[in-house]
Amino acid sequence: MGRFLLGRITGAGIVLLLKSFVIFALIGLMPGDPLDLMMNANPETTPEQMAHLRAMYGVDLPITQRYWTWLVAALQGDFGYSRIQHRPVLDIIIPALGNTLILTGAAFVLSTTLAVTLGTIAALKRGTWIDRIINLFAFAGISVPSFWLGLLMIYLFAVRLGWLPAGGMPRPEQGFGGMLAHLVMPVMTLVIVETGGLARYARAAMIEVLSQDYIRTARAKGLTDRRMLVRHALRNALIPVLTLVALQLGGLFSGAALTEAMFAWRGMGRLILEAILGNDYNLALVCLMFVTATILIANICADIAYTWLDPRISLGKRRR
């Protein structure tokens, strides 16, 4: 177990390092560099000053050297400054993380519960009109563009009916009610989009389990439907579902970029979009590294959860 973990963590560390270089290089290829932007901001900069700044920022150095400088600083805990907000990157990321966790956490709990419930119902009522309606709902959720769904909701609930705020963050004095009012539409959007795939997965897992011999045995023993469902079927069907859920945990921290952007929710996803589209290189880089790290950690947790839930699999012999 210890050795397995050590190996996985080392592997994840290497992936993270490689990824930071790839993203660093890609961001370097985006239009403009920090000095072009600085010069636009202050047209009176003289060529001598520019040359001085270029040397100071090291923008003319080869990419590997620039990356090394960045990496050494980052490893010492210095993640640099945001170019647009003029604040240390970490000071910006931490509040955004909090906001994202509120939004994605709420959506995650709701969509997982809804998906398992709908998936189980569909599996039990397989082939009936209930199954078909759940299936149609799942397909619609998978197929709808989230930003369009958000747009329609804003029009309906904020512009036309005026029931809910169109977006933005609640002010502290608005209290819990204000928070809920601001959360309803973005959470609804995320739940609709996320439930579909998971519900279909849960349905398939449940159908698989219901066809197993031990379910027939349980039925033959005269167990009631409800007891059989909870004790035998649901428990086993949840194993693959929970692994998939654990894999999605990494996404909790990265936020839902489009949904957050649509509803002006100050979370990680929106922060990443703004940083990339606004040429805030360093902020974008650190955010993306953080997001990748959480995805990798979630993957390791999913592996552990898998063996913990299903004793038939041991950590040494993973399917791969």
């Binding site: 985006m30 709808v144 563009p145 489009l258 997001v291």
Partner: protein, 302 residues
């Protein structure tokens, strides 16, 4: 040999033909592609244009000529949707086929040669899989191509914008197919007919092409179909954010960017492009699902 393989496909087709949902979705999809790619003729027939602006007829209501009214620049909304569809639907098709091609090559190579090759390729697949997809796509879509040595004229052309999206969506989308094909190849190369072919001196390429791929083709077809749907969604998101298809070209996603600003006065202009995306993607997903059960002999008939 040929007769047997034909009858397998006939069987599959018959299973698909019994699936009313999949067949309905397939008809919708064919109709959608057909309509979009006859946009030029429809424009002539209705005497409207989805391209040229006409400031005298902005926000025209729905009538016999303007089936969905006209937009903020006086362009006919219906034919504009069709023209946007040409871009969105063809990007979906090209990028899905591209992803499957790359995924098949990588997966088959890994599964056939195994060992070190397999390990390196699969690590690479994992690496790609753990990319935060949308942010990386945005960066790739925003990369200044002149920094890579392309000419200004090329970078500004519509074709560069179009093929750039196809390319980057392909580059990030091949992982599923690679895993499928690798798994299929791993099990197929163990079989007797592959051993027999190898004993007769068949080359690796021939074994893969003649014996392995035809037996792995059904999951590839299903994955490609489903991929088309997610490509269309990705393209629309990128274009909506302003880093995808650039004006004067138009796609369903970029139409939504304009419509968003006019939401309060002309909400319908924001409804049509999104409804088109939803219709196309849901039809694609139903077809993919139908193909999956038609190809899988264990699946239950609905």
């Amino acid at each position: 040999m040929t007769e047997a393989s034909v009858s397998v496909w006939q069987l599959r087709w018959r299973r698909l033909a019994r699936d009313r949902v999949a067949l309905g979705a397939l008809s919708v999809l064919v109709l959608l592609y057909g309509l979009c790619f006859s946009a030029a003729w429809i424009e002539v027939w209705l005497d409207v244009t989805g391209v040229d602006t006409d400031l005298m007829s902005r926000f025209d209501p729905i009538d016999a000529r303007h089936w969905l009214g006209s937009d903020e620049a006086g362009r006919d909304e219906f034919t504009r949707i069709l023209r946007g569809g040409q871009i969105s639907l063809s990007i979906g098709l090209f990028a899905a086929i591209g992803s499957s091609f790359v995924g098949t090559v990588i997966g088959a190579t890994a599964g056939y040669f195994r060992g070190r090759v397999d390990m390196v390729l699969m690590r690479f697949t994992d690496f790609m899989l753990a990319m935060p997809a949308l942010p990386v796509l945005i960066i790739l879509a925003a990369i200044d191509l002149t920094k890579l040595g392309f000419s200004q004229d090329f970078v500004r052309s519509g074709a560069a914008g179009y093929w750039r999206i196809v390319l980057i969506v392909t580059l990030l989308g091949w992982t599923t197919v690679a895993r499928l094909v690798r798994a299929a190849t791993l099990s197929l190369v163990e079989r007797e007919f592959v051993l027999a072919a190898r004993a007769q001196g068949a080359s690796s390429l021939r074994i893969l092409w003649v014996h392995v791929l035809p037996n792995a083709v059904t999951p590839i077809i299903v994955a490609t179909t489903l991929r088309m749907g997610s490509v269309i969604l990705t393209e629309s998101a990128l274009s909506f954010l302003g880093v995808g298809i650039q004006p004067p070209s138009t796609s369903w996603g970029s139409m939504l960017t304009n419509a968003q600003e006019l939401m309060a006065s002309n909400p319908l202009l924001a409804v049509y492009p999104g409804a088109a995306i939803l219709m196309a993607v849901i039809a694609i997903n139903f077809v993919g699902d139908g193909l999956q059960s038609a190809f899988d002999p264990r699946a239950d008939p609905h």
